[in-house]
Amino acid sequence: MNLCITSYSRFHGNKVLVNDRLVFYQENILNFADFIKSVYKQEQINYPKFYKMDAISKLGFLAADLVLKEATVEGYPPDAVGVVMSNSSSSMDTDMAHNETIKDRSSYFPSPSVFVYTLPNIVIGEVCIKNKIKGENAFLISETFDARLLCDYVEELFINERVEACLCGWVEVLGDNCNAMVALVEPEARRRNEDIPGFRFLPFNAGSLDLIMKRN
């Protein structure tokens, strides 16, 4: 079974790439919140729950959505599609927000709507809800992007026949620094005839993932 990357998105700084094309770029971005909202608006995704999400979920949600705009997982059984994500700081961005609410005993206001996002895998839940994906999930942590690890993990899912397609990637936000990549991995046999114009499917391996991460 040869696996390939049939669609990918890349978020870095104030740019968004989808399948080698620059789809978003804005000169004067103030901060992450401004950036991610601008991308959301440009893509005209009508999903009010988006505004309730924390930074990492917004980033991962949009990154997955752009991938699935150009390739679909709808032909697969919901429990045969997996989502494997990774990052460096886990949910630290939201952890600090929750910590602010409990720092001072005289103004103690922990909130369930913040606390629920203090787990990195919530972004996987958000992606699954939007796209009706019900298969394998895992969130892995490494100091820097580890293409080998991601590749090995996802390959095991295919080898064990746990998935027929899998979204995988890196979703990192800390303050205003964001860095994300999401790729859809499918067996070559399933690739459709009409390739995405101008984009050649990449073989699924660590080299391809590293290559995508280098596209800024």
Partner: protein, 398 residues
Amino acid sequence: MGRIKDHMKKSVYILNDNIITSLGFTTAENTAAIRQNMSGIHTISDPVLYPVPLPLSQVDTTVLDSEFGMLLQLYKKNVPAGPYTRLEKMFILSIHATLDGYAEMAANPKTLLVISTTKGNINLLEGRYKNQFNHKRVYLWEFGRIIQQFFGFRHPPLIVSNACISGLVAIMAASRFIQSGLYDHAVVAGGDIASEFVISGFQSFQALSPAPCKPFDLHRTGLSLGEGCGSMILSVSPGNATKSSVRITGAATTNDANHISGPSRTGAELSQAINLSMNQAALTPGDIDYISAHGTATPYNDEMESKAIDLSRLTHVPVNSFKGYWGHTLGAAGIIESVAAITSMKDNFLYRSAGFDTPGVPVPLNVITSHHHTAVNTCLKTASGFGGCNAAMIYQKD
């Protein structure tokens, strides 16, 4: 993908294990306490930890520090003098105990360290630790590096942080990597501490029970938090196990795709994870001898689990939850509960589900009401968590 050819032939054995909780610092201490119907959940009044008293299952700090002090003496020449955080002490003690008799495994290039935790050193966000530890220490990769370097593991650890199913995801990741030949052995360790960060969050969800938790009971009112650490060695070889060896024969995760903080209303997705793992192990519902459930004692979790167990046609199977003994230990749960379940298999002895008196889930389950001897050859372990995740795992005894 040339690895696919021989993966079906390989079995993954569990060679050794350890549990550190409020009930003890070894697997044997923990199971002995459980046999005596002891619970580690007690009302704690510690204003530094949390403003009001609440039931909690805590690891004994005095014993932890003294055991760790002795261990540090043993390793003195080769490891940094410290300081070490509360969670690091638990992980190091647990892994050290698990490696007893397998010490050479740490430095073996074919050994992988797998870590499961939801929050790691999250207490370091509290101001009082600022001068004691480098700010990097709160990141899970730095936590993992400390553990890796202490024992001299060759590879950076695989770190899983996937809410309450982290422990089972860690075990299945290790097991799959061994089956496909990437590694021959894995040390899998999982843990979390009871921190103000986590307690305040669960409290804001109104998920905490004012009394020790009562999984599957009619009068259950929420979960009790606990802290702890567990570890196990997985290997391609059955090793020198004196009792019959236990293998991992099926594993799967699924997602509800329904809600980020509430379980599925139907249990269909947990049931699917159970069915997938039974299929992989080539077992049918009639083959399962025992279920070690997640059983957090929140109204919705236990309700969902009962429906899932019913959908998988397993309501006849004896089931328990260990949460009544040591609370919900988050990143440790999947591992320590698996280790305890494996002792049931080795000893052919099922433990009472603590806190359960009156049936209280929509589909009646065969909840274990008293400790008893019975043949336990196959065990299903389940877990579910925030983010809509579910996991199921099959253990089989040779």
